[in-house]
Subunit: 345 residues, 4 copies
């Protein structure tokens, strides 16, 4: 049994951590923080947990948090995260950070898409926490940079192609569609119900900050520099990301054979499901679970492969993956607390 | 560990039973049946459970089912249920039936709203499975008639008033709003996305078949005959029922005092949450859980009490309550497999 | 051809006025104001009207507005409206005000639910603009207080019963359900997509500010004081209000006969549709139109009538009705610019 | 004033034709047919038009239809359309056909994606009715094959690039997302509310029947054979298609310059809106209108252009475009009956 803190608990990834950890047999949540809502009980800002959580949100003081908890999730905005994570590490705590602050190998890349990094030496010790690609590093890590939601769906969808050199690196396109919860719980006109409902749109075309994170990981998988066109879209629904991925095949291959390659690549993985030929994933079949579902087809007419991947953006794309990393870092079974089936419908 | 069958597993209450039972530590699902989909794997009709269920749907043959399972959930349409439930009982199995067939004390009432009952002597042995009202009977039962979704939300909302004689029995109105999953998985124009989305409507006004079930239980609580006006509505969402309940108070009472009466009535109940004064429930705060949330206010201007209750229609209104009954009937802790927090958002 | 100003054009009722007036053959919109968005073009804040409106939003200066326009719609928050409406009247302009500021006969009632009225003498000259009830007064008015969305649906639904003395005045209950656009375009957490979607809830139970407006008009129809229990709810959809109205019948009457009473009461009305027996309205069948659809049933079991009415809250519940009033005040055909059929689906 | 028949009026494109034509000053709808619903009034199957249409649906008998109408819209499934269209032509009527049956230049292409064509000689006389590309041919046509919804959004989005030879023809990808109304009004499990809501998915990947239609028109624009990867997706909303289009630029060009090319190409078009740099369309800003909104960006990092186009699938993607063609074929102003602004929200 470990004591866990959720730093920055008033957003959607925060409440999702609390929800998942409530069902985790080896975890007790002992501390939650929020600047906006300090002094309020968790149930005041998230009525869904009434009678199950009695914790009161505190202002963030790293030393106090560290006194109460063995393991820390930071669910803060970028910049805010790197201001406090080093303190937790110094106090001997392991951390999974859900912001962008510890996802990059290169402080320069981080600086060019975000702002200058405050502690590049800490950044260097962090591990990109996509367990299906980098489980061993995660198990030894003190600090894990939890992947972004879009990157998770895209990297898992393309990894077998790149690792096996089956696709032209200059041909990659990721057309991704995200539910609205990815935009957070801040009060903004853009995410009001009436602005979003019946409104499907693209945004951040060719300039979204998840691009360098995707390219970093794809390049590592490919063993050489990879660029990608990435277009995010907003779907009028609560949860889910579906990415449609295009690439020109480097060699001829059948759909059947490529599905075997994918099954082989993900053999033994509990959270990746490769669908049978002719089937494609839907966000409604992964919602509420830590699954990533993948379907694909080789289009002989155009010489392209089309891969479709789906996750719950708040679980495999955020809080579920964070708990998966926590499990690995603590030697718990990787699926502990994460074995709920999708909620359908 | 008991072996469980889900008879009629291809609808929304069927998949919800499978989802919940997957996380139940004392249950193994060993048999699933469906006439429509016999021969298909569960994952073919519900891709959400892929890789976690490998069962194949069978045609319903009671003897075969009874060979495979110790405990049986029947999630069949009314009429179809009473055609097979007696066989299971004769074979020594306990049953929770999710249809309307075993919810009524009087075969005549059943006959006047449905059709003649096929086995009134079996009906007489069944228990109406609303544990918060009738836990002791459930624990001794061999056959439980699992309550309807609307009745669950309405009876739980009004029980403290009626048991305590605080409301005029001729003044009761239940204005209920249900998500679309309550209409089932059959292919009908009326529940197509484009017919329902942006379309809020009433249906079955003054003639809905849940009326006699509600009046039966309210009358038992009141100790005399109670009638109610019941209006169901359809809400463009997947899950949830919210009932707004009106009654003229028999005596003057403050909101504060009435909330105490409710808290006292439901003391110790794990699945009923009485909200603080000034707060009202939302379906989004119970979705994915077995909770029933209740808020209320006394309107001094009109002498009425307004009670608002919310449940997830597929869980506390169907499959969750069925598992709760199964737990009681088998001596398991009542919350076993049912302690998931609501999925918000 | 008249010149029209929309004062307070940056909210949902503002854009809806612009949309409707674009199709009105006797109107040219010559002036739009918004404090928040002054200096921006209309298309910048409402991309839907790009290439059809080239107006730039101005700060509100009554004299300048009056120079540009013959007729004025004020779509401001209450309080803000009564600060400027008298200026427009003094400058000889006719006004339809969409706020609550000019809907009440009694400044005291207004004061007890809102704040002290700034110009009760102006209030006294205003007409409550529900044309189906008070067409003659509207045609002579210089100032019309445009009805609230909930009151429109409730008053139209109950008027024939009250005018004909067919219902017990102490028994009335209005259970109303509104789409989210009724909550406006302000940035608030409560109306974010993820807070509202899959979340049906009640709010303002027994304390909503539309209550006195409803009671004022019902009392005038009944010829004596009427109180009502009014419960508003929020539905996860863009547009529509559906009100379910309950009353105890003063005398026995059949559904068929009562429908005749309703048809007689609304004979000749272009925007009220009384549905055939057994049918009830849906918000999806009035969306995008100025219709109010009404269905009803007499429940012999309980001695109650249940009336269900549906409108598009932004049209018959706000901007459409405002244009209907403008038509009457200017001697245009009442349906001019308002004859679009509902957008289904 | 012309008399118009809508053949196959019981689907979503049928009701949309009736809705639009109700507001058309030069049209009277005199005949509606439906095999399924013959004998019912239009209001029985579409309550939204109650009191505005009193027509009764008839079985389809071409001679009777031709006696009643001067101009005919056929909104039938493919195959059913080509069984009757020649009869109407022989009887001297002009026809806009909304099925796929008269969209192809080559009967062989039609045969390989659908079935053998019943009257290839009639097919040869038909005109592909995308007015922005082929207005002159439409004005002389007796038979117009109304474009598919996906093709409309894709061809309008790519036309300026192909006509001007600015893009590599082997690099084109169309990732399209459609609302559910595109799937029609038939009772199918796949389009039930609970199957679609919160469920975003791809379907028909690399095999959708709109592919050859898109390639035919793109090839004509390019002057040589063009292939494209086309992936349709289903969005949980009523109306709208958004297509995200990718191509590798043949030459270097700035976003600003490319937007000028688009504005020049569509100069004078009333229904195509090219958005300012940095803005992208949303389906919610075209819903209920005949607009096609287009935004784009040149991604210098990858050498690709990304074009985003949005339409209302039932209007510019079907019934609105059909009326636009009818206007041209009859010498009416092209925007007649089609000038409604989008319904937002």
């Amino acid at each position: 049994m470990i004591k866990v803190a959720v730093v920055g608990a008033s957003g959607y990834t925060g409440i999702e951590l609390l929800r998942i950890l409530h069902g985790h047999p080896e975890v007790e949540v002992t501390c939650v923080t929020s600047e906006r809502s300090a002094g309020k009980s968790v149930a005041e800002i998230f009525p869904s947990v009434r009678d199950r959580y009695s914790l009161v949100l505190e202002r963030l003081e790293p030393v106090r948090v560290a006194e109460k908890a063995d393991f820390i999730f930071t669910a803060l905005p970028h910049q805010a995260a790197m201001e406090v994570v080093p303190s937790f590490l110094k106090l001997g705590k392991k951390v999974v950070d859900l912001s962008a602050d510890y996802r990059f190998r290169s402080p320069d890349v981080y600086a060019s898409w975000y702002q200058p990094h405050l502690n590049p030496e800490v950044l260097r010790t962090s591990v990109y926490g996509l367990p299906e690609i980098r489980r061993d590093s995660v198990s030894d890590a003190f600090l894990v940079g939890n992947p972004g939601c879009y990157p998770t769906s895209i990297i898992l969808g393309l990894a077998p192609l790149l690792r096996n050199g089956m696709v032209d690196h200059t041909s990659l396109i990721a057309d991704s569609k995200s539910a609205v919860s990815g935009a957070g719980r801040g009060a903004k006109v853009d995410t009001l119900f009436c602005e979003v409902n019946e409104g499907f749109k693209a945004y951040g075309v060719a300039v979204h900050r998840h691009t360098p994170e995707i390219e970093q990981e794809l390049s590592l998988l490919a063993g050489e520099s990879v660029t990608i066109s990435f277009t995010p879209h907003l779907v009028p629904m609560d949860r889910g990301i579906l990415s449609t991925l295009y690439g020109r095949l480097a060699e001829e291959v059948s759909t059947t054979r490529l599905l075997e390659v994918y099954r082989e690549f993900y053999r033994g993985e509990k959270f990746v499901r490769i669908l049978p030929e002719g089937l494609y994933p839907s966000t409604s079949h992964v919602r509420g679970s830590n699954f990533c579902d993948i379907g694909l087809v080789v289009d002989q007419r155009t010489g392209r492969v089309v891969v479709v991947s789906a996750i719950d953006n708040l679980i495999k794309g955020a809080s579920g993956q964070a708990v998966q990393n926590m499990n690995i870092m603590n030697g718990f079974p990787e699926t502990m607390g994460l074995d709920a089936l999708p909620l359908f419908p």
